[in-house]
Amino acid sequence: MKCDRCENEATVQEITIRDGARIETHLCEQCARQMGLASQSAVPLSELLTKYVLATGIGGAAASAAGRASPATECPTCRLMWSEFRRVDRLGCPDCYTAFESQLGPLLERAHEGGSRHIGKSPSRASARRAGTKEAAPPADDRVLRIATLRKQLERAVVEEQYERAAALRDQIRQLEDPADDRPGD
């Protein structure tokens, strides 16, 4: 079918019903845009879905927050990309929840019958923090984890040829591995 205004092939169909009468207009993309009917051509389906979900999903609040600040594409702690998460459905580390908070909101609501906030049990340490009391005693030791994280940072520093940083990291690791080193006259 040809465009109502020119010789091009019509790709946009506009149907208006006025006073009970149905008015059909067939336009090519160019003319449609000139008339303000096709704002954007060929929006990919995935984008449309994301926009739809973000705009109309139950997570209206989270979605408008996402609209204001552009959502993060990478978790600063573990470097997981949002796109990778969508592929494997697994987050990389606890900090991913903060990094991707705005994108996760609508997803979580769909997965949890509209639930968006935790209302269940909390660890006693977290409860103590919230109650404004003095934090409960720290756990036995997170030293091993800290060392593992530093080792990973060290590997990265070496690969990136940041030798000063690598040396500093190595010292930190040594100190954590053998705190006795630091004790004078011991």
């Binding site: 459905d89 697994r90 987050l91 019958e113 209302i119 660890p123 997170d142 800290r146 593992a148 990973k152």
Partner: protein, 365 residues
Amino acid sequence: MAPNHPSLSFESRTEWLRGEGRAADVVMSSRVRLARNLAGCPFPHRGSRVHRQASLQLCRRAVVSAGLSPTLLWADLHQASPLERMLLVERHLISKHHSKSRPCGGPPGPGPDDPRGVAIALPDERVSVMVNEEDHLRIQVIRTGLALGECWREITEVDDRLEASLNYAFSPRFGYLTACPTNVGTGLRMSVMLHLPGLRLTGDIEKVKRAATDMNLAVRGFYGEGSDAAGDFYQLSNQTTLGKTERQVLDELESQIIPRVVEYERVARRMIATKRLAAVEDQVHRSLGILSHARLVSTEEAMQLLSHMRLGVVLGIIKHVDQAVVNHLMLLVQPAHLQKVLGREMDQDQRRVARADLLRAKIAR
């Protein structure tokens, strides 16, 4: 498994197959699990091997010193043989994914020699803790019959003890943080294993499955995620972990949904016992006949036949076999158990012969 440690008694009856407790005619067992992760550490699939070694070390220390039971078995799965790992899967102590170190549906895991383990409270195996599965910690409590409340009380106590020496990843908004967002919040999964042969015979099983799905419950088979409903066994579990308290999930399942399904199954059994008795008796006795005489039996066939037997025992058609014996056989016919009980490795064909021999010995009058 490391020597010098207490070991599982493979011929013993695990708690979840005791065949006792509330609504045990329909509910085989109740299971509750909690997913927990360490703060400041990547989730197992994302961390380096060093991270996983570190989280394993931390969690192991916490689990072993938590006083979970007088005898605790710790198994380093990366050092266990494939047969031993399979055995733990069959006893519902670890997931299939944990046995192979491949997270379910997620990215490929680091492989069978990756640092990970499981702690098992002996002798009843009611409490177990997987370390470095999809999450750093997966705590599980399993009990016979409908006992989600008891499971919950026990597991929350275990959780508190572990938290005393571990720093959990937790956020006030999202709750307990987990690798998969479908577990975030409470990290709680409550499930019951149901035996529903009556509803299959009346043709109402699909209705129940649809209703469960509509109530946002997951319906799975005997061996959990990705397994078929072997022998009319179905696992029903909650899927929502965010925006509901543990108590709400418990009340919904234990006080409302499960009792209704149980009643529905009982009505179906009564109906077939009065209106279609000859047909049920025929099916039960045919199964008994095969179990007492067959020379080759596959796992799937054994499960199906034992399911008929179980119905026969519950309806009083079979009187010479106890329900607990039937339950226990469901475990013994599994490939790894069969090999362990007979004390030798066997290929599939040899297992079919051995399985038939075992069943004949245990079932025949």
